[in-house]
Protein backbone atom coordinates (compact mmCIF):
# COMPACT_ATOMS: atom_id res chain seq x y z
CA UNK A 1 0.00 0.00 0.00
CA UNK A 2 1.16 3.55 -0.73
CA UNK A 3 2.99 5.14 2.23
CA UNK A 4 0.42 7.89 2.78
CA UNK A 5 -2.42 5.37 2.74
CA UNK A 6 -0.66 3.24 5.37
CA UNK A 7 -0.38 6.30 7.62
CA UNK A 8 -4.05 7.19 7.09
CA UNK A 9 -5.04 3.61 7.93
CA UNK A 10 -3.13 4.00 11.19
CA UNK A 11 -5.00 7.17 12.06
CA UNK A 12 -8.50 5.84 11.51
CA UNK A 13 -10.16 4.29 14.54
CA UNK A 14 -11.61 0.79 14.11
CA UNK A 15 -15.35 0.67 13.64
CA UNK A 16 -15.64 4.21 12.32
CA UNK A 17 -17.25 5.38 9.10
CA UNK A 18 -15.32 7.00 6.29
CA UNK A 19 -15.83 8.67 2.96
CA UNK A 20 -12.87 8.30 0.60
CA UNK A 21 -12.93 11.07 -1.98
CA UNK A 22 -11.10 9.88 -5.07
CA UNK A 23 -10.80 6.32 -3.80
CA UNK A 24 -9.10 4.94 -6.93
CA UNK A 25 -9.33 1.16 -7.01
CA UNK A 26 -10.50 1.13 -3.38
CA UNK A 27 -7.17 0.06 -1.84
CA UNK A 28 -7.61 2.06 1.37
CA UNK A 29 -11.27 1.15 1.82
CA UNK A 30 -10.53 -2.52 1.25
CA UNK A 31 -7.68 -2.47 3.75
CA UNK A 32 -9.80 -0.71 6.37
CA UNK A 33 -12.75 -3.04 5.81
CA UNK A 34 -10.59 -6.14 6.15
CA UNK A 35 -8.44 -4.97 9.06
CA UNK A 36 -10.42 -2.60 11.23
CA UNK A 37 -14.08 -3.07 10.39
CA UNK A 38 -14.38 0.39 9.01
CA UNK A 39 -17.56 1.08 7.10
CA UNK A 40 -16.60 3.06 4.06
CA UNK A 41 -17.83 4.49 0.81
CA UNK A 42 -15.71 5.79 -2.03
CA UNK A 43 -16.15 8.47 -4.65
CA UNK A 44 -14.38 7.98 -7.94
CA UNK A 45 -14.70 9.35 -11.44
CA UNK A 46 -12.65 6.86 -13.46
CA UNK A 47 -14.61 4.02 -15.09
CA UNK A 48 -11.87 1.37 -14.81
CA UNK A 49 -11.16 2.18 -11.17
CA UNK A 50 -14.86 1.85 -10.42
CA UNK A 51 -14.96 -1.57 -12.04
CA UNK A 52 -12.16 -2.62 -9.64
CA UNK A 53 -14.05 -1.27 -6.63
CA UNK A 54 -17.23 -3.10 -7.65
CA UNK A 55 -15.24 -6.31 -8.16
CA UNK A 56 -13.90 -6.00 -4.60
CA UNK A 57 -17.34 -5.28 -3.10
CA UNK A 58 -16.39 -1.71 -2.20
CA UNK A 59 -19.30 0.73 -2.07
CA UNK A 60 -18.40 3.28 -4.71
CA UNK A 61 -20.23 6.23 -6.20
CA UNK A 62 -19.22 7.48 -9.63
CA UNK A 63 -18.94 11.20 -9.13
CA UNK A 64 -16.94 14.26 -10.09
CA UNK A 65 -15.61 15.76 -6.85
CA UNK A 66 -15.71 19.17 -8.48
CA UNK A 67 -19.51 18.95 -8.36
CA UNK A 68 -19.27 18.93 -4.56
CA UNK A 69 -20.81 16.51 -2.08
CA UNK A 70 -24.15 18.27 -1.74
CA UNK A 71 -26.08 15.96 -4.03
CA UNK A 72 -25.22 12.83 -2.04
CA UNK A 73 -24.29 13.63 1.53
CA UNK A 74 -25.95 15.49 4.35
CA UNK A 75 -24.08 17.14 7.23
CA UNK A 76 -22.08 15.01 9.65
CA UNK A 77 -22.51 11.73 7.80
CA UNK A 78 -19.03 10.31 8.47
CA UNK A 79 -16.38 10.09 11.18
CA UNK A 80 -13.65 10.76 8.61
CA UNK A 81 -13.56 12.19 5.12
CA UNK A 82 -10.35 11.27 3.32
CA UNK A 83 -8.86 12.80 0.22
CA UNK A 84 -5.50 11.36 -0.74
CA UNK A 85 -3.39 12.83 -3.53
CA UNK A 86 -6.44 14.47 -5.07
CA UNK A 87 -6.67 17.98 -3.59
CA UNK A 88 -4.17 19.41 -6.05
CA UNK A 89 -6.28 18.31 -9.04
CA UNK A 90 -9.48 19.97 -7.89
CA UNK A 91 -11.09 23.14 -9.27
CA UNK A 92 -11.51 24.70 -5.83
CA UNK A 93 -9.53 22.97 -3.06
CA UNK A 94 -10.70 25.54 -0.49
CA UNK A 95 -14.38 24.78 -1.10
CA UNK A 96 -13.78 21.03 -1.03
CA UNK A 97 -11.96 21.23 2.30
CA UNK A 98 -15.02 23.03 3.68
CA UNK A 99 -17.24 20.32 2.23
CA UNK A 100 -15.13 17.64 3.86
CA UNK A 101 -15.78 19.16 7.26
CA UNK A 102 -19.45 19.60 6.51
CA UNK A 103 -20.08 15.91 5.84
CA UNK A 104 -17.43 14.54 8.21
CA UNK A 105 -16.27 15.14 11.75
CA UNK A 106 -12.61 15.02 10.70
CA UNK A 107 -10.83 15.44 7.42
CA UNK A 108 -7.68 13.69 6.28
CA UNK A 109 -5.78 15.05 3.32
CA UNK A 110 -2.57 14.03 1.62
CA UNK A 111 -0.88 15.99 -1.15
CA UNK A 112 2.50 16.24 -2.87
CA UNK A 113 4.47 19.05 -1.25
CA UNK A 114 5.46 21.50 -3.98
CA UNK A 115 8.29 22.85 -1.79
CA UNK A 116 10.07 19.48 -1.55
CA UNK A 117 13.79 20.10 -2.02
CA UNK A 118 14.08 18.18 -5.30
CA UNK A 119 11.34 20.33 -6.77
CA UNK A 120 13.02 23.47 -5.43
CA UNK A 121 16.27 22.46 -7.11
CA UNK A 122 14.59 21.89 -10.45
CA UNK A 123 12.75 25.20 -10.35
CA UNK A 124 15.43 27.26 -8.56
CA UNK A 125 18.58 25.99 -10.25
CA UNK A 126 17.50 24.48 -13.55
CA UNK A 127 14.59 26.86 -14.01
CA UNK A 128 12.08 24.16 -14.98
CA UNK A 129 8.75 23.08 -13.52
CA UNK A 130 9.49 20.22 -11.12
CA UNK A 131 8.99 16.63 -12.20
CA UNK A 132 9.46 14.32 -9.22
CA UNK A 133 8.23 10.93 -8.11
CA UNK A 134 5.41 12.62 -6.21
CA UNK A 135 4.66 14.86 -9.20
CA UNK A 136 5.47 12.74 -12.23
CA UNK A 137 3.67 14.80 -14.91
CA UNK A 138 5.05 17.57 -17.10
CA UNK A 139 3.52 21.02 -16.79
CA UNK A 140 1.58 20.61 -20.01
CA UNK A 141 -0.18 17.33 -19.21
CA UNK A 142 -0.51 17.47 -15.46
CA UNK A 143 -3.93 17.10 -13.84
CA UNK A 144 -2.45 18.94 -10.85
CA UNK A 145 -3.72 22.45 -11.32
CA UNK A 146 -3.62 23.64 -7.70
CA UNK A 147 -0.31 22.58 -6.26
CA UNK A 148 0.60 23.83 -2.83
CA UNK A 149 3.20 23.51 -0.12
CA UNK A 150 3.08 22.51 3.54
CA UNK A 151 3.15 26.19 4.45
CA UNK A 152 0.40 27.05 1.95
CA UNK A 153 -1.93 24.37 3.25
CA UNK A 154 -1.44 25.41 6.85
CA UNK A 155 -2.16 29.01 5.89
CA UNK A 156 -5.40 27.88 4.24
CA UNK A 157 -6.40 26.01 7.40
CA UNK A 158 -5.79 29.14 9.45
CA UNK A 159 -7.80 31.22 7.03
CA UNK A 160 -10.71 28.75 7.14
CA UNK A 161 -10.62 28.34 10.91
CA UNK A 162 -9.56 24.70 10.65
CA UNK A 163 -7.76 22.98 13.48
CA UNK A 164 -4.85 20.74 12.43
CA UNK A 165 -4.90 17.67 14.68
CA UNK A 166 -1.97 15.82 13.24
CA UNK A 167 0.66 16.28 10.54
CA UNK A 168 3.13 13.86 9.06
CA UNK A 169 5.34 14.22 6.05
CA UNK A 170 7.13 11.41 4.31
CA UNK A 171 10.41 11.87 2.47
CA UNK A 172 11.73 10.28 -0.70
CA UNK A 173 12.35 6.96 1.08
CA UNK A 174 8.70 7.13 2.16
CA UNK A 175 9.75 6.41 5.71
CA UNK A 176 7.84 8.71 7.96
CA UNK A 177 9.28 11.03 10.53
CA UNK A 178 13.02 11.25 10.06
CA UNK A 179 14.87 13.99 11.94
CA UNK A 180 15.00 16.11 8.78
CA UNK A 181 11.29 15.83 7.98
CA UNK A 182 10.45 16.66 11.58
CA UNK A 183 12.66 19.75 11.63
CA UNK A 184 12.04 20.97 8.08
CA UNK A 185 8.81 19.44 6.83
CA UNK A 186 8.35 21.96 4.03
CA UNK A 187 11.80 21.19 2.65
CA UNK A 188 12.16 17.45 3.19
CA UNK A 189 8.56 16.30 3.02
CA UNK A 190 7.65 14.82 -0.32
CA UNK A 191 4.09 13.92 0.63
CA UNK A 192 2.22 15.82 3.37
CA UNK A 193 -0.52 14.13 5.40
CA UNK A 194 -2.92 16.10 7.60
CA UNK A 195 -5.75 15.24 9.93
CA UNK A 196 -7.94 18.18 10.84
CA UNK A 197 -11.29 19.25 12.23
CA UNK A 198 -13.34 22.39 12.60
CA UNK A 199 -11.97 24.67 15.30
CA UNK A 200 -13.87 24.30 18.53
CA UNK A 201 -15.02 20.75 17.72
Amino acid sequence: MRADLAIIADWIKPGSSILDMGCGDGTLLKFLRNNSEVDGIGLEIDAQQIESCVRDSISVIQADLNDGLEQYFSDNSFDYVVMSQTLQAMDRPDILVEEMLRVGKQGIITFPNMAYWKGRLQLGIRGIMPVTRGLPNHWFDTPNIHLCTVNDFEALCKLQNINILERTVVDHTHSKSTLLTRLFPNLFGEIAIYRFSRNGM
Binding site: I41, C53, V54, I61, Q62, Q71, S77
Partner: protein, 381 residues
Amino acid sequence: MPDTLPPDSVGIVESKSMHFDQLLPLECGKTLPEYDIAYETYGELNESGSNAVLICHALSGDQHAAGYHAMEDRKPGWWESCIGPGKPIDTKRFFVVSMNNLGGCKGSSGPNTKRPGTDKYWGPDFPIVTVRDWINSQQRLMQVLGIEHWLAVIGGSLGGMQVMQWSIDYPDSVRHAIVIAASPKLTAQNIAFNEVARQSIMSDPDFNHGHYLEKSTIPRRGLMLARMLGHITYLSDDSMREKFGRELREGKLNFGFDVDFQVESYLRYQGHAFVDRFDANTYLLMTKTLDYFDPARDHGDDLATAFSSATAKFMVISFTSDWRFSPQRSREIVKALIKAKKPVSYVEVEAHHGHDAFLMPIPHYMNVFHNYMQNVGRDIK
Protein backbone atom coordinates in the same frame (compact mmCIF):
# COMPACT_ATOMS: atom_id res chain seq x y z
CA MET B 1 -32.12 -16.39 -35.82
CA PRO B 2 -28.87 -18.03 -37.00
CA ASP B 3 -28.87 -21.73 -37.94
CA THR B 4 -27.20 -22.67 -34.67
CA LEU B 5 -27.84 -21.19 -31.24
CA PRO B 6 -25.07 -18.91 -29.96
CA PRO B 7 -23.13 -20.69 -27.16
CA ASP B 8 -23.78 -17.81 -24.74
CA SER B 9 -27.56 -18.04 -25.20
CA VAL B 10 -29.88 -19.96 -22.89
CA GLY B 11 -31.14 -21.53 -26.11
CA ILE B 12 -34.70 -22.69 -26.70
CA VAL B 13 -36.99 -21.70 -23.85
CA GLU B 14 -40.70 -21.89 -23.22
CA SER B 15 -43.15 -19.70 -21.39
CA LYS B 16 -45.00 -21.30 -18.53
CA SER B 17 -48.07 -20.18 -16.67
CA MET B 18 -49.19 -20.45 -13.06
CA HIS B 19 -52.78 -20.05 -11.95
CA PHE B 20 -53.59 -18.43 -8.62
CA ASP B 21 -57.08 -18.70 -7.17
CA GLN B 22 -56.19 -16.79 -4.06
CA LEU B 23 -57.71 -13.29 -3.89
CA LEU B 24 -55.26 -10.52 -4.72
CA PRO B 25 -56.25 -7.22 -3.09
CA LEU B 26 -55.11 -4.28 -5.18
CA GLU B 27 -54.02 -0.80 -4.19
CA CYS B 28 -56.92 0.73 -6.12
CA GLY B 29 -59.34 -0.96 -3.69
CA LYS B 30 -60.49 -3.66 -6.10
CA THR B 31 -59.62 -7.33 -5.82
CA LEU B 32 -58.57 -9.84 -8.42
CA PRO B 33 -60.44 -13.05 -7.57
CA GLU B 34 -58.03 -15.23 -9.52
CA TYR B 35 -55.29 -14.66 -12.03
CA ASP B 36 -52.54 -16.22 -14.10
CA ILE B 37 -48.90 -15.27 -14.19
CA ALA B 38 -46.89 -16.17 -17.29
CA TYR B 39 -43.20 -16.65 -16.66
CA GLU B 40 -39.98 -18.13 -17.94
CA THR B 41 -37.03 -19.58 -16.06
CA TYR B 42 -33.44 -20.12 -17.11
CA GLY B 43 -30.79 -22.15 -15.28
CA GLU B 44 -31.36 -24.49 -12.36
CA LEU B 45 -32.62 -23.74 -8.86
CA ASN B 46 -30.18 -25.15 -6.29
CA GLU B 47 -31.30 -27.37 -3.41
CA SER B 48 -31.46 -24.62 -0.82
CA GLY B 49 -33.41 -22.38 -3.19
CA SER B 50 -30.83 -19.64 -2.70
CA ASN B 51 -29.56 -18.92 -6.21
CA ALA B 52 -32.68 -17.35 -7.67
CA VAL B 53 -32.62 -14.03 -9.47
CA LEU B 54 -35.75 -12.12 -10.48
CA ILE B 55 -35.80 -10.07 -13.67
CA CYS B 56 -38.41 -7.29 -13.76
CA HIS B 57 -39.48 -6.01 -17.15
CA ALA B 58 -40.09 -2.50 -18.39
CA LEU B 59 -43.12 -0.88 -20.03
CA SER B 60 -43.21 -2.90 -23.24
CA GLY B 61 -41.30 -5.95 -22.00
CA ASP B 62 -42.57 -9.36 -21.02
CA GLN B 63 -41.48 -12.68 -19.52
CA HIS B 64 -39.40 -13.60 -22.57
CA ALA B 65 -36.15 -12.06 -21.38
CA ALA B 66 -33.66 -14.45 -22.95
CA GLY B 67 -33.26 -17.26 -25.46
CA TYR B 68 -35.52 -18.23 -28.34
CA HIS B 69 -38.95 -19.80 -28.40
CA ALA B 70 -38.21 -21.53 -31.69
CA MET B 71 -35.34 -21.84 -34.12
CA GLU B 72 -37.35 -19.70 -36.54
CA ASP B 73 -37.48 -16.75 -34.11
CA ARG B 74 -35.99 -13.68 -35.67
CA LYS B 75 -35.03 -12.16 -32.32
CA PRO B 76 -34.13 -13.52 -28.88
CA GLY B 77 -35.63 -12.32 -25.58
CA TRP B 78 -35.38 -8.61 -24.73
CA TRP B 79 -32.36 -8.90 -22.39
CA GLU B 80 -30.33 -11.46 -24.29
CA SER B 81 -27.34 -9.11 -23.91
CA CYS B 82 -27.21 -9.71 -20.15
CA ILE B 83 -28.73 -13.14 -19.48
CA GLY B 84 -27.04 -16.41 -20.48
CA PRO B 85 -24.06 -18.64 -19.77
CA GLY B 86 -21.06 -16.42 -18.99
CA LYS B 87 -23.06 -13.20 -19.25
CA PRO B 88 -23.52 -10.82 -16.28
CA ILE B 89 -26.64 -12.74 -15.21
CA ASP B 90 -24.89 -16.07 -15.60
CA THR B 91 -27.37 -18.91 -16.02
CA LYS B 92 -24.64 -21.40 -15.05
CA ARG B 93 -24.79 -19.98 -11.52
CA PHE B 94 -28.19 -18.37 -11.15
CA PHE B 95 -31.73 -19.59 -11.50
CA VAL B 96 -33.34 -16.75 -13.41
CA VAL B 97 -37.07 -16.03 -13.19
CA SER B 98 -38.81 -13.55 -15.45
CA MET B 99 -42.54 -12.87 -15.23
CA ASN B 100 -45.10 -11.04 -17.32
CA ASN B 101 -46.58 -8.43 -15.02
CA LEU B 102 -50.28 -8.44 -14.23
CA GLY B 103 -52.10 -6.30 -16.77
CA GLY B 104 -49.57 -7.35 -19.39
CA CYS B 105 -50.50 -8.92 -22.70
CA LYS B 106 -48.25 -11.94 -22.97
CA GLY B 107 -50.14 -14.55 -20.99
CA SER B 108 -50.57 -13.06 -17.53
CA SER B 109 -54.03 -11.90 -16.63
CA GLY B 110 -54.65 -8.57 -18.28
CA PRO B 111 -56.98 -6.63 -20.53
CA ASN B 112 -56.54 -9.09 -23.41
CA THR B 113 -57.50 -12.14 -21.32
CA LYS B 114 -60.99 -13.33 -20.43
CA ARG B 115 -62.57 -12.25 -17.21
CA PRO B 116 -62.84 -15.31 -14.92
CA GLY B 117 -66.15 -17.09 -15.21
CA THR B 118 -67.17 -15.17 -18.34
CA ASP B 119 -66.51 -15.33 -22.03
CA LYS B 120 -65.68 -11.63 -22.17
CA TYR B 121 -62.34 -9.91 -22.35
CA TRP B 122 -61.36 -7.77 -19.40
CA GLY B 123 -60.59 -4.95 -21.82
CA PRO B 124 -60.68 -1.53 -20.16
CA ASP B 125 -62.25 -3.03 -17.02
CA PHE B 126 -59.06 -4.71 -15.92
CA PRO B 127 -58.22 -2.87 -12.70
CA ILE B 128 -55.29 -0.47 -12.72
CA VAL B 129 -52.49 -2.29 -10.98
CA THR B 130 -49.57 -0.60 -9.28
CA VAL B 131 -45.93 -1.58 -8.87
CA ARG B 132 -46.77 -2.68 -5.34
CA ASP B 133 -49.54 -4.97 -6.66
CA TRP B 134 -47.06 -6.48 -9.10
CA ILE B 135 -44.61 -7.20 -6.31
CA ASN B 136 -47.32 -8.91 -4.28
CA SER B 137 -48.24 -11.13 -7.21
CA GLN B 138 -44.58 -11.89 -7.93
CA GLN B 139 -44.02 -12.81 -4.30
CA ARG B 140 -46.67 -15.50 -4.54
CA LEU B 141 -45.01 -17.08 -7.56
CA MET B 142 -41.71 -16.93 -5.71
CA GLN B 143 -43.21 -19.03 -2.92
CA VAL B 144 -44.80 -21.53 -5.27
CA LEU B 145 -41.50 -22.01 -7.08
CA GLY B 146 -39.82 -22.92 -3.78
CA ILE B 147 -37.56 -19.90 -3.78
CA GLU B 148 -36.39 -19.01 -0.29
CA HIS B 149 -35.36 -15.47 -1.18
CA TRP B 150 -34.19 -13.57 -4.23
CA LEU B 151 -30.45 -13.48 -4.34
CA ALA B 152 -30.97 -10.48 -6.59
CA VAL B 153 -33.86 -8.56 -8.05
CA ILE B 154 -32.82 -6.80 -11.23
CA GLY B 155 -34.60 -4.46 -13.61
CA GLY B 156 -34.25 -1.48 -15.90
CA SER B 157 -36.62 1.49 -16.25
CA LEU B 158 -40.06 0.45 -14.93
CA GLY B 159 -38.28 -2.80 -14.00
CA GLY B 160 -35.93 -0.82 -11.75
CA MET B 161 -38.94 0.65 -9.98
CA GLN B 162 -40.13 -2.88 -9.18
CA VAL B 163 -36.68 -3.64 -7.78
CA MET B 164 -36.96 -0.70 -5.38
CA GLN B 165 -40.49 -1.70 -4.36
CA TRP B 166 -39.33 -5.27 -3.71
CA SER B 167 -36.55 -4.05 -1.42
CA ILE B 168 -39.04 -1.91 0.51
CA ASP B 169 -42.05 -4.25 0.70
CA TYR B 170 -40.27 -7.58 1.20
CA PRO B 171 -36.98 -6.55 2.79
CA ASP B 172 -36.16 -10.08 3.97
CA SER B 173 -36.63 -11.54 0.51
CA VAL B 174 -34.05 -9.47 -1.38
CA ARG B 175 -30.28 -9.76 -0.92
CA HIS B 176 -29.20 -7.56 -3.79
CA ALA B 177 -31.21 -4.89 -5.58
CA ILE B 178 -29.94 -3.79 -8.98
CA VAL B 179 -31.73 -0.68 -10.15
CA ILE B 180 -30.93 0.35 -13.72
CA ALA B 181 -32.01 3.49 -15.62
CA ALA B 182 -34.82 4.06 -13.15
CA SER B 183 -36.38 6.91 -11.24
CA PRO B 184 -37.87 7.28 -7.74
CA LYS B 185 -40.94 8.78 -9.40
CA LEU B 186 -41.86 10.27 -12.74
CA THR B 187 -41.32 13.92 -13.49
CA ALA B 188 -44.09 16.10 -14.91
CA GLN B 189 -42.41 15.85 -18.31
CA ASN B 190 -42.50 12.07 -18.14
CA ILE B 191 -46.16 11.99 -17.15
CA ALA B 192 -46.83 14.41 -20.01
CA PHE B 193 -45.28 12.01 -22.54
CA ASN B 194 -47.38 9.19 -21.13
CA GLU B 195 -50.50 11.30 -21.39
CA VAL B 196 -49.87 12.06 -25.06
CA ALA B 197 -49.37 8.35 -25.66
CA ARG B 198 -52.64 7.54 -23.92
CA GLN B 199 -54.52 10.25 -25.75
CA SER B 200 -53.30 9.01 -29.11
CA ILE B 201 -54.61 5.52 -28.29
CA MET B 202 -57.91 6.67 -26.83
CA SER B 203 -58.65 9.07 -29.68
CA ASP B 204 -58.30 6.32 -32.30
CA PRO B 205 -61.84 5.60 -33.61
CA ASP B 206 -61.02 1.89 -33.46
CA PHE B 207 -60.38 2.12 -29.72
CA ASN B 208 -64.11 1.78 -28.96
CA HIS B 209 -63.67 2.90 -25.36
CA GLY B 210 -61.29 0.00 -24.85
CA HIS B 211 -63.76 -2.67 -26.02
CA TYR B 212 -61.99 -3.12 -29.33
CA LEU B 213 -61.44 -6.88 -28.93
CA GLU B 214 -65.19 -7.48 -28.68
CA LYS B 215 -65.78 -5.27 -31.70
CA SER B 216 -62.93 -6.99 -33.57
CA THR B 217 -61.09 -3.76 -34.18
CA ILE B 218 -57.61 -2.71 -33.11
CA PRO B 219 -56.61 0.91 -32.43
CA ARG B 220 -53.60 0.45 -34.66
CA ARG B 221 -52.96 4.09 -35.47
CA GLY B 222 -53.25 5.21 -31.87
CA LEU B 223 -50.97 2.52 -30.51
CA MET B 224 -48.52 3.10 -33.31
CA LEU B 225 -48.38 6.82 -32.55
CA ALA B 226 -47.91 6.10 -28.85
CA ARG B 227 -44.99 3.82 -29.62
CA MET B 228 -43.43 6.27 -32.08
CA LEU B 229 -43.53 8.99 -29.46
CA GLY B 230 -42.15 6.65 -26.82
CA HIS B 231 -39.40 5.51 -29.11
CA ILE B 232 -38.16 9.05 -29.68
CA THR B 233 -37.89 9.54 -25.93
CA TYR B 234 -35.95 6.28 -25.50
CA LEU B 235 -33.25 7.44 -27.91
CA SER B 236 -30.99 10.46 -27.66
CA ASP B 237 -30.44 13.30 -30.09
CA ASP B 238 -26.93 11.96 -30.70
CA SER B 239 -27.97 8.37 -31.29
CA MET B 240 -30.67 9.42 -33.74
CA ARG B 241 -28.21 11.64 -35.56
CA GLU B 242 -25.72 8.80 -35.72
CA LYS B 243 -28.28 6.22 -36.79
CA PHE B 244 -30.22 8.26 -39.36
CA GLY B 245 -28.75 11.71 -39.80
CA ARG B 246 -30.88 13.37 -42.49
CA GLU B 247 -30.52 10.41 -44.76
CA LEU B 248 -33.25 10.19 -47.37
CA ARG B 249 -34.97 6.90 -47.98
CA GLU B 250 -35.15 7.29 -51.75
CA GLY B 251 -32.18 9.58 -52.12
CA LYS B 252 -34.37 12.56 -53.03
CA LEU B 253 -37.06 14.79 -51.55
CA ASN B 254 -40.57 13.85 -52.61
CA PHE B 255 -42.31 17.12 -51.80
CA GLY B 256 -45.18 15.28 -50.16
CA PHE B 257 -46.27 14.10 -46.74
CA ASP B 258 -45.11 10.54 -47.08
CA VAL B 259 -41.77 9.27 -45.86
CA ASP B 260 -38.78 11.31 -47.00
CA PHE B 261 -36.25 10.70 -44.27
CA GLN B 262 -34.97 7.39 -42.96
CA VAL B 263 -35.91 8.33 -39.42
CA GLU B 264 -39.56 8.58 -40.48
CA SER B 265 -39.41 5.19 -42.08
CA TYR B 266 -37.78 3.73 -38.97
CA LEU B 267 -40.39 5.15 -36.61
CA ARG B 268 -43.24 3.91 -38.77
CA TYR B 269 -41.67 0.46 -38.90
CA GLN B 270 -41.23 0.39 -35.12
CA GLY B 271 -44.79 1.57 -34.64
CA HIS B 272 -46.23 -1.08 -36.99
CA ALA B 273 -44.18 -3.86 -35.45
CA PHE B 274 -45.31 -2.84 -31.98
CA VAL B 275 -49.00 -2.97 -32.85
CA ASP B 276 -48.57 -6.60 -33.88
CA ARG B 277 -47.13 -7.59 -30.54
CA PHE B 278 -48.73 -5.34 -27.96
CA ASP B 279 -52.14 -4.54 -26.55
CA ALA B 280 -53.41 -0.97 -26.40
CA ASN B 281 -55.20 -1.37 -23.05
CA THR B 282 -52.03 -2.82 -21.56
CA TYR B 283 -50.12 0.21 -22.83
CA LEU B 284 -52.63 2.53 -21.15
CA LEU B 285 -52.44 0.56 -17.93
CA MET B 286 -48.66 0.29 -17.77
CA THR B 287 -48.18 4.01 -18.37
CA LYS B 288 -50.54 4.68 -15.47
CA THR B 289 -48.57 2.28 -13.30
CA LEU B 290 -45.49 4.28 -14.16
CA ASP B 291 -47.18 7.60 -13.37
CA TYR B 292 -48.41 6.36 -10.00
CA PHE B 293 -45.10 4.95 -8.79
CA ASP B 294 -43.83 6.95 -5.84
CA PRO B 295 -42.67 4.81 -2.92
CA ALA B 296 -41.83 7.91 -0.86
CA ARG B 297 -45.48 9.00 -0.85
CA ASP B 298 -46.38 6.58 1.94
CA HIS B 299 -43.39 7.76 3.98
CA GLY B 300 -43.92 11.47 4.30
CA ASP B 301 -42.48 12.04 0.82
CA ASP B 302 -39.08 11.02 2.12
CA LEU B 303 -37.44 8.36 -0.03
CA ALA B 304 -34.80 7.62 2.62
CA THR B 305 -37.54 6.74 5.11
CA ALA B 306 -39.14 4.52 2.48
CA PHE B 307 -35.86 2.62 2.14
CA SER B 308 -35.30 2.41 5.91
CA SER B 309 -36.62 -1.16 6.18
CA ALA B 310 -34.56 -2.47 3.24
CA THR B 311 -31.83 -5.00 4.00
CA ALA B 312 -30.57 -5.44 0.44
CA LYS B 313 -27.32 -4.19 -0.98
CA PHE B 314 -27.95 -1.79 -3.83
CA MET B 315 -26.33 -1.26 -7.20
CA VAL B 316 -27.68 1.72 -9.12
CA ILE B 317 -26.75 2.32 -12.74
CA SER B 318 -27.68 5.22 -15.02
CA PHE B 319 -26.66 6.36 -18.49
CA THR B 320 -25.38 9.83 -19.35
CA SER B 321 -27.59 10.41 -22.41
CA ASP B 322 -30.77 9.03 -20.84
CA TRP B 323 -33.12 12.02 -20.67
CA ARG B 324 -36.29 10.04 -20.02
CA PHE B 325 -34.93 8.68 -16.71
CA SER B 326 -31.90 10.88 -16.37
CA PRO B 327 -28.86 10.27 -14.14
CA GLN B 328 -30.20 13.00 -11.86
CA ARG B 329 -33.16 10.74 -10.99
CA SER B 330 -30.79 7.86 -10.18
CA ARG B 331 -28.71 10.19 -8.00
CA GLU B 332 -31.85 10.93 -5.98
CA ILE B 333 -32.20 7.20 -5.36
CA VAL B 334 -28.54 6.97 -4.35
CA LYS B 335 -28.78 9.97 -2.04
CA ALA B 336 -31.79 8.47 -0.29
CA LEU B 337 -30.02 5.13 0.11
CA ILE B 338 -26.96 6.80 1.58
CA LYS B 339 -29.14 8.79 3.95
CA ALA B 340 -30.88 5.56 4.97
CA LYS B 341 -27.40 4.05 5.55
CA LYS B 342 -27.86 1.28 3.01
CA PRO B 343 -24.86 -0.16 1.16
CA VAL B 344 -24.94 1.25 -2.34
CA SER B 345 -22.75 1.60 -5.39
CA TYR B 346 -23.60 3.92 -8.24
CA VAL B 347 -22.28 3.99 -11.75
CA GLU B 348 -23.07 6.58 -14.38
CA VAL B 349 -22.24 4.92 -17.67
CA GLU B 350 -21.04 7.14 -20.50
CA ALA B 351 -23.37 6.18 -23.34
CA HIS B 352 -25.02 7.98 -26.22
CA HIS B 353 -27.92 5.51 -26.66
CA GLY B 354 -30.42 7.36 -24.46
CA HIS B 355 -32.78 5.40 -22.21
CA ASP B 356 -32.42 2.29 -24.38
CA ALA B 357 -28.78 2.04 -23.27
CA PHE B 358 -29.79 -0.29 -20.47
CA LEU B 359 -30.48 -2.98 -23.09
CA MET B 360 -27.16 -2.51 -24.90
CA PRO B 361 -23.94 -4.45 -24.29
CA ILE B 362 -21.88 -1.32 -23.50
CA PRO B 363 -18.44 -2.52 -22.28
CA HIS B 364 -18.15 -0.46 -19.07
CA TYR B 365 -21.77 -1.28 -18.18
CA MET B 366 -21.20 -4.97 -18.83
CA ASN B 367 -17.97 -4.99 -16.78
CA VAL B 368 -19.59 -3.31 -13.79
CA PHE B 369 -22.65 -5.54 -14.06
CA HIS B 370 -20.50 -8.66 -14.43
CA ASN B 371 -18.26 -7.72 -11.49
CA TYR B 372 -21.22 -6.98 -9.28
CA MET B 373 -22.96 -10.26 -10.18
CA GLN B 374 -19.74 -12.16 -9.38
CA ASN B 375 -20.08 -10.87 -5.83
CA VAL B 376 -23.79 -11.69 -5.79
CA GLY B 377 -22.81 -15.25 -6.71
CA ARG B 378 -20.64 -15.48 -3.60
CA ASP B 379 -23.77 -15.13 -1.49
CA ILE B 380 -25.22 -18.39 -2.81
CA LYS B 381 -25.57 -20.71 0.15
